[in-house]
């Protein structure tokens, strides 16, 4: 398959149809946590609750390890995985800090000071990636 034009953006997963297909069960698990009855069931028995979603072993392991970036790499989308973060009591901003490998206060200060600059962050080549 030809390379997609948005795949040269660093530090970014574009949630397209390929990712959506790959991450479907992972995302459907995450979004189920929007309902209290499901949050209660997941809390009571995480493994049994996850059995209801036929995801891959890697996806399941990423969820149990709360490896937020790995979930995205395996087809997760942030609007879905943020429901799992909310289940854990993690705010969106703290989740963003974790995903970008920053300390909470460091990330918050960056945002108050105008956010992450686009300079040097447009192309993978600027990050030394292909």
């Amino acid at each position: 398959m030809t390379k997609k034009e948005y795949e040269d953006i660093p530090g970014t997963f574009v949630f397209d149809a390929d990712r959506s297909r790959e991450g479907y069960h992972l995302n459907m698990f995450c979004i189920s946590l929007g309902k209290q009855v499901n949050r209660d069931a997941f809390k009571a028995d995480p493994e049994a609750y996850l059995d209801k979603y036929p995801m891959t072993a890697d996806q399941r392991a990423a969820i149990l390890a709360r490896d937020w970036n790995e979930m995205l790499r395996l087809g997760g989308n942030i609007y879905y995985t943020s429901k799992l973060a909310a289940f854990d009591g993690i705010t969106f901003q703290d989740l963003a800090a974790m995903m970008s490998g920053m300390e909470r206060e460091e990330y918050r200060a960056m945002m108050v000071n105008g956010g992450r600059s686009v300079e040097g962050n447009r192309y993978k080549s600027e990050w030394g990636e292909e």
Binding site: I9, G11, V14, G34, N77, M99, M111, G114, G115
Partner: protein, 284 residues
């Protein structure tokens, strides 16, 4: 005849709703965000629209990965604020102008915009936060000052509809509104943005220069703005900045030349740049 004479572009950052719901809008972090909406709230009182046609995106609330309509028009009598994982926002139920909504749905489809019609739908912060910032606090037992017709646009799964398609949809919405017999003041909102990225290693990206240019273009050169390709939003305004395509629907429903009444821009609200513009048709 119903008519559209003004449009509003506004971010719908969930944390803005939380700040209002918790009564902390005077805190130093939030004060500059809300300062920029003071004029907007006065303007809303003067305009006093009967109906707001509100273009927003659902955040996997009404539509999870199992069903992804590109354009979904709310035709139900009312829309309850949804529980997004931390309880519903304490704001009023959103009431529709059902006859106008049905008329618009029919008109759009005959105009070759094959929209999805929603007769049951809950609405999330994408719809209620713009109402809150533009009207101020409204008790959940009161009513919103206007009826609301929601149009949910998919921007979660790539690709969102193109800016060009959104702009032309705005024109079709205007034709639909202007062919409705009842004398109604209809206002249109385009919501979302501005630059923000919520995910992975580039989370926190903000591009104020690009945002200001987008506000200039939306006001002065909407046709050019509608041609911005998706990859530019993703690269320059962050992966979630592509929400801005929804502003083109609003812009397409107005005259090509408009008067800019108000603009507000502030960084940050949580992870996002807050942008806002009010545009009126010159003849209004």
């Amino acid at each position: 005849m119903a008519h559209i004479k003004a449009g509003v572009g506004v971010s719908h950052v969930p944390a803005i709703g939380v700040a209002m719901d918790q009564g902390i809008t005077d805190q130093p972090y939030w004060q500059p965000v809300f300062e920029g909406f003071k004029k907007s709230r006065e303007w809303m009182k003067e305009q006093n629209p009967d109906v707001i046609f509100l273009v927003y995106n659902d955040h996997c609330t009404a539509f999870d990965a199992s069903c992804i309509p590109t354009f979904a028009l709310g035709a139900a009598a009312e829309f309850k604020p949804a529980d997004e994982g931390w309880g519903p926002r304490p704001v009023p139920v959103v009431k529709n102008h059902q006859k106008l909504a049905s008329h618009i749905a029919q008109s759009l489809i005959l105009d070759e915009f094959d929209i999805t019609i929603m007769n049951e739908m809950e609405v999330d912060h994408g719809l209620t936060v713009p109402l809150s910032v533009m009207y101020g606090e409204v008790d959940k037992d009161d009513e919103w000052p206007a009826l609301v017709i929601p149009l949910a646009v998919n921007v979660v799964q790539y690709p969102a509809p193109t800016g060009n398609r959104c702009y032309n949809l705005g024109k079709a919405i205007r034709r639909a509104v202007e062919s409705f017999d009842e004398d109604l003041n209809v206002m249109i909102f385009g919501t979302g943005g501005m630059s923000h990225q919520l995910q992975y290693k580039r989370a926190g990206l903000i591009n104020a220069d690009w945002d200001q240019r987008f506000l200039d273009l939306i006001a002065e050169d909407p046709v050019y703005a509608s041609q911005i390709p998706h990859v530019e939003y993703l690269r320059e305004a962050g992966s979630e900045g592509v929400e801005l395509v929804m502003w083109h629907v609003m812009r397409g429903a107005l005259d090509e030349k408009v008067k800019e009444v108000h603009r507000h821009y502030h960084v940050p609200a949580s992870n996002t740049a807050v942008g806002h513009i009010i545009l009126e048709n010159e003849a209004a």
